[in-house]
Amino acid sequence: MALKASEVKVGDSFSCILVEDLKRTQIVQYAGASGDYNPLHTDEIFTKDVAGYPSVFAHGMLTMGMTGRLLTDTVGDGRLTRYGVRFTAQVWPGDDLSATATVTAIETVDGTPIAEFSVETKNQDGVVVLSGSAAARLDP
């Protein structure tokens, strides 16, 4: 079901929990599906001993993908026209992530209502790990 312009207003926000206690296996699963096998995400020995990080960490694109679910669940299937993010902090195994999308504008473009959203994903400590924006076609 698509979101209706008549049912939303600027300032409305939508939230959901994306993941609790992010598992290393989910990071491996994302590596396999996406094709990004960078050992920084799956290989603890390489990541600690060679690259110098405290542990493996999630692909930024895994966080962007998980956050995308909030957007598509909110606006409806196939309705996104734009989605862009900055990765502002790393996501580690064990993190809890929650995302919020807030309506920042609703305008009509060529007769079609378009909603603009700001998007933010935070970890269990309230640290913003992803920050961005999106736009979607609404029903009238």
Binding site: A33, N38, D49, Y83
Partner: protein, 164 residues
């Protein structure tokens, strides 16, 4: 990632949606998808990133018979390859997508890559940061633009744990 042939397949979409924790039936149930507005299994918003699977030169995938920089029993000392997309040992700073339409199972896409801007910045913890923008255009079997992607990768002098 320049890719000559990126077949968008139902089972790949299913696996990708599972990996990002999205149970929406439009990504794994062709019958249920028929009843939706798109009317078919479509790709989730970040799926085109998986075109890496079809880039023969992608450096972040082990190649048969070639050295791999990840560890076996111990670190191998091998270096990451260069070129061929990804961030080649760097980190992903930003990603932006513009959807002209959403890819569906059955589409066969191509991806062409144009380098964008590059710039330098002094980081708080990671030393000097080198940014590189890349613009990728995904077109379908009719040559129509489907998704425009703009990615920004960053290379750091030292491991960056607080900023990318």
């Amino acid at each position: 990632m320049a890719v000559d042939r990126f077949p968008v397949e139902y089972s790949h979409i299913m696996m990708f949606a599972r990996s990002v924790g999205d149970p929406n039936p439009i990504y794994h149930d062709p019958e249920a998808a028929k009843a939706t507005e798109p009317g078919a299994v479509i790709a989730p918003p970040t799926f085109v990133q998986a075109s890496a699977q079809f880039d023969p030169d992608y450096v972040l995938r082990p190649k048969i018979g070639a050295p791999w920089f990840g560890s076996g029993k111990n670190p191998t000392g091998a270096q990451p390859g260069s070129g061929g997309g990804g961030n080649g040992g760097g980190l992903h700073a930003e990603q932006h997508y513009e959807y002209h339409r959403h890819p569906q199972a059955g589409d066969v896409l191509t991806a062409t890559v144009k380098p964008g801007k590059s710039w330098e910045k002094q980081g708080r913890r990671g030393g000097k940061l080198l940014f590189q923008e890349t613009i990728t255009e995904y077109r379908d079997q009719n040559g129509d633009l489907v998704v425009t992607a703009r990615g920004i990768g960053v290379r750091t002098e030292r491991p960056a744990t607080a900023e990318a």
